[in-house]
């Protein structure tokens, strides 16, 4: 059996290690101060895709990412780990997109790619934390979706079995292909970059990267077609500019506040069962735990 798998991945600022300069004075994220990384849950998604490929070696894993030209790095990182190829959706028209405009753009690109069996993405990106893009893509493509996946347990006879990790437990569900799966951070981490693949793909570049390059190995690109990464514009994927980027985004950010957690009041408890029970009830009531 062979599966055509598309992994949706995003390059994000590394908000996990924020320093003092992480926010600008106007409250927006200072992207220059934060290293750009592969969104962590998208790596979990990529691992699920690669495991299916391990199981069915005839399968293909293709990455699709939208972002500025430097997001080509996401495709390379995927190739270094075992993906077969990827597409970078990049255009000024896409800039400033909210989840609606993003899912629209990704849909147009998925349609351009053509047929597929599985779309896999991370649950959410660490910059926006919306968890909306995956589900919206599925809706727009008119395919079913399984969210919060921790493990794709099997794919056979056009059916997929997925273990979902939910707040209060796990759930095992079945779905019919083609379908979209979003993967949780509790799923296995992605395999490391591979020594042979990094040597094979290290010069892989998009057309615009090649223009900038003063690379001494420019002659390799004709001989090794797999080094040429595809870069798609809005026009190329037949996207309606009005539905893209800022103009396609109904979400407007009014302001961003920097929240600093502070202890305001303190409470002293003795260790009696009653007081502990009261505390637990209180913490559940105010959603601190539960």
């Amino acid at each position: 059996m062979s599966l055509k798998i598309i992994v949706l991945a995003k390059q994000v600022p590394d908000t996990r290690n924020v320093g003092k300069d992480a926010m600008k004075a106007d409250g927006t994220v200072n992207r220059a101060a934060l290293p750009a990384i592969f969104n962590p849950e998208d790596l979990n998604a990529l691992e699920q895709a690669l495991r299916l490929k391990d199981q069915y070696p005839q399968s293909t894993v293709t990455l699709l990412t939208m972002g500025p030209p430097r997001a080509a790095e996401i495709i390379r990182e995927g190739l270094f780990r075992g993906a077969d190829g990827g597409y970078l959706l990049t255009d000024r028209v896409f800039a400033g997109a909210d989840t609606l405009a993003t899912s629209y753009a990704l849909c147009t690109a998925v349609r351009k790619i053509g047929s597929f069996d599985l779309l896999i993405s991370g649950r959410q990106a660490i910059d926006g934390d919306t968890a909306q893009v995956g589900p919206q893509v599925a809706e727009k493509l008119g395919i079913p979706q399984i969210t919060y996946a921790e493990e794709i347990q099997s794919v056979k006879n056009g059916k997929i079995t997925v273990k979902r990790r939910l707040e209060r437990g796990i759930e095992i569900v079945e779905g019919k292909l083609p379908l979209l799966v979003t993967v949780n951070g509790s799923a296995p981490g992605c395999r490391p970059r591979n020594a042979k693949l990094i040597q094979k793909y290290k010069y892989a570049k998009t057309a615009s990267e090649k223009q900038d390059a003063t690379a001494p190995h420019i002659h390799l690109y004709d001989a090794r077609p797999y080094l040429n990464l595809e870069e798609w514009s809005a026009d190329y994927v037949n996207a309606d500019p009005k539905q893209c980027g800022l103009s396609g985004s109904p979400t407007k950010v009014k302001s961003i506040e920097n929240v600093v957690f502070q202890a305001k009041e303190s409470k002293t408890l003795d260790s009696s069962d009653q007081q502990i029970e009261e505390l637990i009830i209180e913490l559940i009531a105010n959603h601190t735990i539960g």
């Binding site: 395999r191 490391p192 970059r193 591979n194 020594a195 693949l197 990094i198 094979k200 390799l220």
Partner: protein, 570 residues
């Protein structure tokens, strides 16, 4: 994100040594493999860039997976279940991650699915691995057995086994037996030819076998019935898939607990002869041991790196008498000594690895075509240097790993004696390095030959003749003076022609050579990268100088009649 390559610039420094250019062009046969393999380099810059990228992967996998698992692996160790050695869960995870990263079979030729990387890079991965977990470093470094299999096995054996190593199957070298430790000539494991099945059969017991339940074993066994010495021994390949070897016991060791050390029983185990009969010990195992000794040098260096980092971190953090303890001379002296011995270890480790690379690649090319005159001269030169530097380097680096671990615990004070800090694990792990693959005492037996025939001395003169940064002149003059002393005391001992007396003084002469050669190597490091190495060069040469004077004084004042008072009379 811990990356044990990127956070340690001295590794890149050694990767960029000028001799690498020659090593790589030979190893890559002038970059002709690029036409055939999509991961082969097209030129030198491309190759070095690939080495760096792959070292970065190794640094990440080891920093992110192997290092965090080290404490649990040390506590849990392997288990024996149904006569099999079962790795600790962390070890299984480590092997999976390194295999997925495609790091297995690093130095094997591409036609067997390897990466065709030089020994320098393979040694570097061991250096990095040992810093995280010295026990794991053993399992890792044992893939070097594939090197021996490649050199001496036939084409069918290479095709059968090497790709499996590249896929992550582990190896072992089954040499030691209950009555054959340092003296391998006494090996008794019996190999008999089974005419009916057209294969060899092994029967007997092996002991202290590192990773004894490996997938593929190289076994030293007695194939010539009635013989008693090394000439009756041959080397065999045992494939675990064939069965016949069981684990009878896993040793309960002081350190390197993640690496299972096994007692094995062979019951009619099917095996293949590797190479020719009777050359098992005298040729193949000697080569295997040389590779293994280089591996242990890397392990010792990685342990020194860990000891340095732990000592430094603690000394900078711990406050007593109102200041951090690193501000006290008694403490900063210890930490600086650790650093100097670490940098010196790394200097001889990579110098030796380069020598090994040079002669091995030329020997390999010699199988394909005739060498030209330059190449022949290179082969001879580097083989001689590798032979001389391996025992010297093993002796120096492993003794230093022990001293560094000892001082690291000392810097921690009472806390170092508790299980709370990694330094006690480092201390236990380091202890084996100057014992296995030949004790320091046996390295001295090998190295003294090179003292007596002048290999070290002529190499000291080669280093002395190099033109270096004038800022290093002062240190260079001191090394020249140390060399003079060495030149003077060597014949004082040798000319007696008294073998027992020479043996008695051997360790001192070998150490003297070590202090001078390691001093020169640090000087060369400081010449290429002044800021990074000048402190270690100064500290090391200053201490080494004192040691050389001490040795001179001992030998000078020693009256041969006194030897009697050193003998133990029961």
């Amino acid at each position: 994100m811990a990356n044990f390559y990127l956070d340690n610039p001295s590794l890149k420094h050694h990767l960029q040594h000028p001799l690498m250019k020659r090593i790589v062009e030979l190893k890559e046969r002038n970059y002709t493999e690029a036409a055939k393999y999509d991961y082969a380099p097209v030129d030198f810059e491309d190759a070095i860039d690939s080495y760096e990228k792959v070292m970065e992967i190794a640094g990440e996998v080891i920093g992110e997976t192997v290092a965090p698992n080290a404490e649990d692996v040390d506590a849990q160790g392997p288990q024996m279940i149904n006569n099999r050695a079962i790795y600790a869960p962390g070890t299984v995870e480590n092997l999976k991650a390194t295999t997925q990263a495609g790091l297995m079979g690093l130095s094997m030729p591409r036609r067997y699915n390897g990466l065709n990387f030089p020994m320098v890079t393979f040694i570097m991965t061991s250096d990095i691995a040992a810093r995280a977990d010295a026990g794991f470093c053993n399992l890792w470094a044992l893939q070097d057995c594939a090197e021996t299999l490649y050199e001496f096995g036939d084409e069918e054996q290479r095709r059968q086994f090497i790709p499996r190593v590249c896929e992550g199957e582990t190896m072992s070298m089954d040499l030691t037996e209950p009555d054959a430790g340092s003296d391998l000539q006494a090996v008794m494991l019996k190999a008999t030819y089974d005419e009916a099945e057209n294969c060899w059969r092994l029967n007997g017991v092996k002991r202290f076998i590192t990773n004894g339940d490996a997938d593929i074993h190289l076994v030293l066994a007695r194939s010539e019935e009635g013989t008693k010495d090394g000439r009756g021994l041959s080397m065999f390949i045992y494939d675990k898939r064939d069965g016949g070897v069981n684990v009878r016991r896993i040793e309960n060791k002081m350190g390197i607990k993640g690496s299972p050390t096994c007692e094995l029983t062979y019951k009619n185990a099917k095996a293949k002869l590797c190479g020719q009969r009777k050359l098992g010990l005298i040729r193949y195992v000697m080569s295997l041991m040389n590779g293994a000794r280089l591996g242990i040098m890397a392990q010792a260096t990685g342990l020194s790196e860990a000891a340095y980092r732990e000592a430094l971190a603690y000394a900078k953090e711990r406050k007593q008498f109102g200041k951090t303890i690193i501000e006290f001379p008694a403490v900063y002296e210890m930490v600086s000594n650790i650093k100097a011995r670490l940098d010196a270890s790394r200097a001889i480790l990579y110098e030796t690895a380069r020598f090994v690379d040079m002669y091995k690649v030329l020997e390999d090319i010699e199988k394909e075509r005739k060498l030209d005159e330059t190449e022949k001269a290179e082969l001879k030169k580097y083989k001689k240097l590798a032979d001389a530097f391996t025992p010297l380097g093993k002796a120096m680096t492993t003794e230093y790993a022990n001293q560094n671990a000892y001082d690291c615990v000392q810097v921690h004070g009472g806390s170092g004696f508790m299980k709370d800090y990694p330094c006690e694990r480092i201390y236990r792990d380091a202890r084996i390095t100057n014992i296995y693959e030949g004790t320091t005492q046996l390295q001295v037996v090998a190295a003294i030959r090179h003292v007596l025939i002048g290999v070290y001395l002529s190499q000291m003169k080669v280093y002395q003749s190099m033109t270096l940064n004038p800022a290093l002149d002062g240190l260079k003059v001191r090394l020249a003076k140390m060399t003079e002393i060495y030149e003077q005391i060597t014949p004082q001992v040798a000319d007696t022609k008294d073998n027992e007396y020479i043996d008695f003084q051997a360790r001192r002469l070998v150490e003297c050579a070590g202090h001078i050669i390691l001093g020169y190597l640090l000087l060369l490091d400081a010449d290429r990268n002044y800021e990074a190495f000048i402190h270690s060069a100064e500290v090391y040469i200053q201490s080494g100088e004192t040691e050389v004077y001490k040795i001179q004084s001992f030998i000078h004042r020693f009256n041969r009649d006194q030897l009697d008072s050193w003998k133990i009379k029961a």
